[in-house]
Symmetry: C3
Subunit: 344 residues, 3 copies
């Protein structure tokens, strides 16, 4: 179920209406069955629309109880076997789903004509809201929290006690714990980069999830954390994140991690607890980094890192292997130079 603090639900709509609106073709399920909401393939229930693009996605989800699943023709038997109630066929199931989704669910937006601090916000005694901050409807702010000038809290955001929201930070679709320190210019909760390739060119994938930030997390200046497509982008308690870090949609970061400046964490990455990442290190989509792992500065992690290991380099590999390779290359170059000079 979408979090009603952040999303308005425009449905329900019958299967037939949604499928027709998207140009897809209903191949299973009662046309008048009602759909209310959207969800990921694995989490979808009988009132939810979802999509499946290939066997890998189905395998990853394991099963689905979706009321309506958009998929390509070739995938229909598999989707049915996985348990979907309704199935609609489309050459571009993700784009068809996106069109249906926008008929069902709409993200809440700031009332542009409203007062700077919505009368509907719930601000605890002892919270200090700068005279130049902007607070949307339904926002909750705990005691002892400080909100700086030109900070924006979009509708529905919850901020715990004793937090600090820096100047110009933009927070949307977020549930934030206690003692969280968000530095100026951080942007939390935007839709991530999801690209639908259609016959009319690129279109954005709408996002329906949130960001959840644990207690005592630190988010650096101008760092970005995108919300999940359906569920939650999560940052665990006490994780310390430096400036200009990019955390994409659906990332899950554990507790007590340290991410130095300019790290980039791509979509769907899972990072364990107590992980240390050096400056400008990056992790590719859907890679997993184990507990207590360490990643060197400027490393590019393209494969899973087991618990406790230290990796470095581009592409990242275990530190000892990386150092040995660097040494070999240097020795080879030195030999060649000596040979060249001997030839002179």
């Amino acid at each position: 179920m979408r979090d009603r603090r952040f999303y308005d639900v425009h449905g329900p709509h019958p299967l037939a209406v949604l499928v027709k609106a998207t140009g897809a073709r209903l191949v299973q399920g009662p046309p008048d069955q009602c759909i209310t909401d959207v969800a990921s393939l694995g989490a979808a229930g009988p009132e939810d629309a979802t999509f499946a693009i290939n066997k890998r996605a189905l395998a990853s989800a394991g099963h689905t109880r979706a009321g309506l699943c958009f998929c390509p023709q070739s995938l229909v038997p598999d989707v049915a076997a996985c348990g979907a109630h309704g199935i609609a066929v489309s050459d571009n199931p993700q784009a068809a789903f996106a069109r249906a989704a926008l008929l069902l669910v709409a993200p809440k937006k700031l009332d542009t004509a409203g007062p700077w601090v919505s009368g509907d916000a719930d601000i605890a005694d002892g919270a200090r809201i700068d005279a130049a901050a902007r607070i949307g409807a339904g926002v909750r702010i705990g005691a002892g929290t400080w909100v700086g000038p030109f900070a924006t809290l979009e509708p529905g955001c919850a901020v715990g006690r004793n937090c600090r929201i820096g100047a110009g930070a933009s927070i949307a679709f977020s549930v934030i714990g206690e003692g969280v320190d968000i530095r100026p210019g951080a942007v939390i909760g935007q839709a991530g980069l999801g690209v639908l390739q259609t016959a009319q060119g690129n279109r954005p994938m709408p996002h329906f999830g949130i960001v959840r930030i644990g207690d005592d997390v630190r988010i650096g200046a101008n760092t970005c954390v995108d919300r999940a497509v359906f569920d939650e982008t999560v940052i665990g308690a006490r994780t310390q994140i430096d400036n200009q870090v990019q955390i994409a949609h659906n990332v899950r970061i554990g507790e007590d991690c340290v991410l130095a400046g300019m790290c980039g964490i791509s979509g769907g990455v899972v990072i364990g607890d107590r992980v240390m990442m050096g400056g400008r290190a990056g992790v590719c989509d859907h890679v997993q980094v184990g507990n207590d792992a360490r990643v060197g500065a400027a490393a590019a992690v393209m494969k899973d890192i087991p618990d406790g290991q230290t990796w470095s380099g581009n592409p990242a590999r275990p530190l000892r292997q990386y150092l040995r390779e660097q040494l070999i290359l240097r020795d080879l170059a030195a030999k060649t130079r000596n040979k060249d000079e001997g030839d002179d």
Copy 2:
């Protein structure tokens, strides 16, 4: 001709005045000939001032019809042969030009004492401007466009219909199409990094161009797009750009590209259509990337990439070559390790 929406023209000034003000020496052209504007070497006409620093710049421009061209003594015959009407000699022609240019053309600025939304702005019915947005003189905003809190639109900017300007975005010197989605904290249209090395140390190169953004482009949070020195930095229709991407002055990006988070595109780079760039990839100054090319995450592109090719690595090379090199290095390291262990 400078775009009068963004630049005030203070001229015309006679050749003699401009040349004297810059400490240069007039070696060709009538001293009382009037100069009105500035332009790049190749685009300059009889009323424009420009500069040439070396033969490569002349070769690249092909010809010039400049009313006044600053150049070093050694380049005078070439500049004359290329068609310049007036020629002034300077040891530092770019710095001399910059001084002349600031006598001719001045960028418009926000009226700091004016109302938050200039009475001179043209805002369509159905545009929603947040109560905390700042809109300069001469700005045009289309119907259905949403401008968020703490967003700034500097004088002269044009924003089409159905756009979304996120919280705290700063837009200047920009012409923006329809359906464009600019996320919070993006900075569009600033002068790029241009450094004049003078006897008094570094000085900034003034910028006289704009940014042009096509329909349905997506610009991520905290992404920067600098305006051109003279002409246009261009982002083609439907190109999707992630968070914290840096796009320098004079870049031209085609249509339907996808740039993942933290990509860096240096000055004068030309990127074709449907190019895909992985996260944290970079492209060096003036490099060209062909249509349908793919660039791996964390790659550093230092040479042109032909159409349709996939490159990766630092420095970037064709993917198969890159993978082969990684494999060889790994094998060498493994052999060395075995040998070392055999020696124990």
Copy 3:
């Protein structure tokens, strides 16, 4: 002595009170000796608290005259030999110091309930402050300086004449020279990433220093410059910094440098004069880069670079060595390919 423009001093407190509050154990010094302030190990005087974590830190400082130095038990003789007046033992001396420090010194904050422009600010005639800017108590702004909309100047900041503070820039704990150009979204003067690892998990290291920016410096859009832990993060005159550059705490950059977009300068790095850094280059903690050095785009500098040298690659090495290694690897790969193809 803390700069009273930026920090309130809550002390003095006697040694005994501070040591008890932190759970440490006083092993040297009169319990009723008063401590007023905090300082780095080398700079601390008889009224200052500080900490030492290992012999390397002591060696680097050379000596200390600290009134109170927190250290581990094993380091007590060395700390005494270095000249500390008072010594307190703790298993986690940095965390103990941090707790004591917050009893002594507190950073000043914006008065959230105050007017947008503090009546206590000293703004020269001829400075232009946008109607939407936010100026804290004790701020000084020179003539000819332009402050854009949604810019924040936190309490005590000093900005010289003829500066430009872009839209949405956030400036705190900073002393800024003349003719400085700070582009939109820049964040100057925040506490850097300092992580105290405690039994209760990660905690942030408080910061007590400032940022000092020389005349005619240029700071790009969305660039961050963190303040020092104790002393000053320094950017020398006329240094030109591009967009999205990250400059960590305690960095010292010389004069007339050029840092292209997305460079990352880690904590404690020292960069000489006239250094040129290509785009997305990074420098690791405490590394030194000599005068007139050049660093290639995307390089990762992990060792000191001598004056005048050009380095490139990841990890960075002298350019000729880097090029030779790239060539060798390419040749090896080409030979292997030929051999493979010959084997077919």
